[in-house]
């Protein structure tokens, strides 16, 4: 990993975010620009316009420490501690129970579906 490659990769990511922000604002649709940027970068990688090694260092670093990047947004809940305190029970129970429901239902449906597919492929 070299500093130059890291910086050039970062420049590519910023350029893509810039581009997708311009596109979204021109189209006036409620869609997060970074998500469009992700789709554009995937397309550029698939077509070989951007080589994997231009961006692999910066992408690896950002993904590896993504949790750190969420920290400021998490701290912003400090502004709404009153609302959270007033309805703590419904908020926290809904949060925990629905998370369990979503994870288990999705994972189990896919596990069964993929197991069937595997068996089907073998026969």
């Amino acid at each position: 990993m070299t500093a130059t490659k890291l910086l050039q990769g970062f420049a590519i990511l910023l350029l893509l975010q810039w581009l997708s922000t311009v596109i979204i604002s021109l189209l006036e649709i409620p869609f997060p620009p970074p998500l469009l940027g992700m789709l554009i970068l995937t397309a550029l990688l698939c077509t070989g316009i951007i080589k994997e090694n231009y961006i692999e260092d910066i992408c690896g670093a950002l993904i590896d420490k993504m949790a750190l990047l969420f920290l400021p947004a998490g701290v912003s809940m400090i502004l709404y501690l009153d609302v959270i305190k007033a309805e703590l029970l419904p908020i926290s129970l809904t949060l925990v129970l629905s998370s369990l429901v979503i994870l288990s239902s999705t994972a189990l449906v896919l596990e069964i579906l993929l197991r069937k597919k595997e068996k089907g492929g073998q026969q």
């Binding site: 997060p32 998500l35 949790a67 990047l69 701290v75 959270i84 998370s99 994870l103 999705t106």
Partner: protein, 236 residues
Amino acid sequence: MMLPELLLNSPLFGMGLTIIIYCACELLVRYLKLNIIPPIVFACPAIILFLLYVPNVSYQQYKIGADFINFLLGPATIALALPLYRNRHVIKANAFSITIGILVATLSAIFSVYLLGKSLGASEAVLLSLLPKSVTNPIALEITKTIGGIQPLTAAVVISTGMLGATINHKLLKILGVKNDLAAGIAIGASSHGIGTSVCAHVSAVQLATGGVSIALTGIATSILIPLLLPILKNI
């Protein structure tokens, strides 16, 4: 302890506090061998307590520097294209299963949150703010704005959902006997977005890639389905 204004009014304060506390929590987690719990679970309350109890320190001052770190979420989201590209064959080969998984996740999210929240007595505004809690923050905030929830409350529950997911996802999947990385990745991305998926970076490349796909697709599906289903939900 009184911190000088020179420090507090500079980006150094918020940026420094975020990175120093995060690294300290990372070391703590490693030292105590708690590697199943992500450092953010300790770092987030630690910073909140710091801002609440250290005299003369305000959230507004923290935000000056913290915004720089928050900004990096954009490039980091774009960076998810790399695992997506590297695992494109797995994704292409399983396009049908992935679509079904995303639909199950999105529908179970919308119905479980609404019905649970309502039966537990959440107010209308809180209920609406909770609805998009499993999708990535930028999309969740757009959805809340469209349906009339409280945006910062959505941000708080989205982050909490992610932290909960990062802590329990892999344990729950083990209990459920889910062994397929693709099933795990889609379920994790769909239930706890980027924070939950960030743990997959240390588990498997396929999980990380499908987690990234799942974040994008559930985000899109949720933003289409919530406004469509809301009139039906309100009649239940």
